[in-house]
């Protein structure tokens, strides 16, 4: 049997995109729980439109661009710039719960990967920098470094991140009882063009052009921190 490197990369994409991969993302709803309790999102189509807003105004122009830049740093083994990208995207995350969840997922993702990817110098240096408090270990940056180490192409790495983010919100909606399982898959299917466009629009932009603007979502996520009764971390 002839197995080339491309086959292995494809399997690595499946591995990192799988909700079975231990990143703890199932504990987050990114504010959806607050919207659900306040009855502001009531059906599958409204949820789909909300995820579009997350992708196009938050995760896309911020995390996706950060991932693209971090991937280039990893390609050039430029640790110093990688740490800068990590610090900037960390500072751009306005809401404490979102910041904490992202770095907790990121650092655990990195720990898991370094348990079976050995000898990747940049990955080890990045992990060391996190230990020493020089980097936060934001999820999108870890995903970039991990994808580079596993030879997953940059654009596919970004699609993976946008996809897993979307799936985690749909998963949260299912557990909240907002929709049924077939509707969840329909939404994911309908989001595919948005995921692709978001990647194309943001993956090659320079670091200085990173932005995010979804103030209503920021306020909802801040409100979630104060909920007395909640199922999700964010």
């Amino acid at each position: 049997m002839n197995i080339d490197k491309m086959d292995i990369q494809e399997i690595s994409i499946l591995q990192l995109s799988d909700s079975f991969f231990p990143t703890g993302m199932y504990t987050t709803s990114n504010g959806l729980e607050t919207l659900f309790y306040s009855k502001k999102i009531n059906n599958a189509n409204e949820l789909r439109d909300l995820i579009k807003v997350y992708l196009e105004h938050q995760i896309g122009p911020a995390d996706c661009t950060a991932l693209g830049n971090a991937y280039e740093c990893a390609d050039k083994s430029d640790l110093s710039k990688l740490l800068k990208v990590d610090q900037i995207i960390y500072a751009m995350k306005l809401v404490r719960e979102i910041r904490d969840a992202s770095t907790r997922s990121g650092t655990q993702l990195l720990r898991c990967l370094t348990s079976f990817i050995t000898g990747n110098e940049l990955m080890n240096q990045y992990q060391q920098a996190i230990k020493q408090g020089q980097a936060a270990g934001v999820y999108s940056i870890v995903m970039a470094v991990a994808s580079n180490a596993l030879k997953i192409p940059k654009k596919k790495a970004a699609i993976m991140m946008l996809y897993t983010f979307s799936v985690s919100i749909v998963g949260a909606a299912l557990r909240l009882g907002m929709l049924q399982h077939f509707e969840g898959q329909r939404i994911i299917h309908e989001l595919k063009p948005t995921i692709l466009d978001t990647m194309i629009n943001n993956i090659d932009r320079p670091l200085i052009s990173m932005w995010q603007f979804a103030p209503e979502i920021d306020i909802i996520q801040i409100s979630h921190e104060k909920l007395d009764s909640k199922m999700f971390i964010t």
């Binding site: 199932y26 907790r104 720990r111 007395d228 909640k230 199922m231 999700f232």
Partner: protein
């Protein structure tokens, strides 16, 4: 990613079985022996347990700093959060280890049914599973990962056994049959009956009777 791992005890059990109250009883005994503990509470849908323990053990009794009781939401998946993907719990434990490396013990509490609850060895070094008699004396006999695999089985609310028709003799017989030589303890967390024995298990089997860090310094 702390330099030194602090011993960790996982306490699991069904909702209402007495996990929080067991911790509220065990921590003062540990404290009286000089052992300092931190607590992470995996609430399923609220932060009530964490708030209650913080209020009782930190604010009122002054046995620990308030930031040593942390509530953690699990996205409705408490079993996953302590077993197949304990990422968030491990992160929070490591943050606690980083900030408070002088702790002797970290207690991780999580709700979970008797069929599927177990703690990942990456998260907890010792697993206590607590049930109560109100589920009936068939509970140990019905087995499940929690009851069979835990290091210590705690059977709570023994005072109400006669009122719910639960025969403690049957529970003891079945616990022995299912668990072999692994220990079990009958307790009443309301009065503290049996809780000292639970604490002794922790000191002997988790802390290996090492003196508290504060004394060993």
């Amino acid at each position: 990613m702390s330099a030194k791992r602090i011993p960790r005890v996982g306490i699991g059990g069904p909702v209402g079985s007495g996990k929080t109250m067991l911790i509220e009883q065990v921590v003062p005994i540990l404290s009286s022996r000089g052992y300092r503990a931190g607590i992470i509470s995996n609430d399923v849908v609220s932060r009530e347990d964490a708030d209650r323990m913080r209020q009782n053990l930190a604010t009122q009794k002054g046995l620990m700093a308030e930031d040593l009781v942390i509530g953690l939401a699990t996205g409705g998946c408490p079993h996953t959060a302590i077993r197949e993907d304990p990422s968030m719990n491990i992160s929070v434990v490591e943050e606690m280890e980083e900030k408070h490396n002088d702790l002797d013990l970290i207690i991780i509490e999580s709700g979970g049914d008797n069929i599927t609850t177990t703690f990942s060895p990456a998260l907890a070094d010792y697993f206590i599973y607590i049930i109560d008699v109100s589920g009936g004396d068939k509970y140990p006999r019905k087995r499940g990962l929690g009851i069979e695999s835990c290091d210590l089985l705690v059977i709570n609310k023994i005072d109400i056994a006669p009122h719910v028709g639960a025969d403690l003799g049957i529970m003891e017989r079945d616990a022995k049959a299912v668990r072999g030589i692994k220990p079990y303890v009958f307790v009443n967390c309301k009065t503290g009956q049996g809780v000292k024995e639970v604490t002794e298990h922790i000191i002997r089997d988790v802390l290996f009777e090492f003196p508290p860090k504060a004394i060993a310094k």
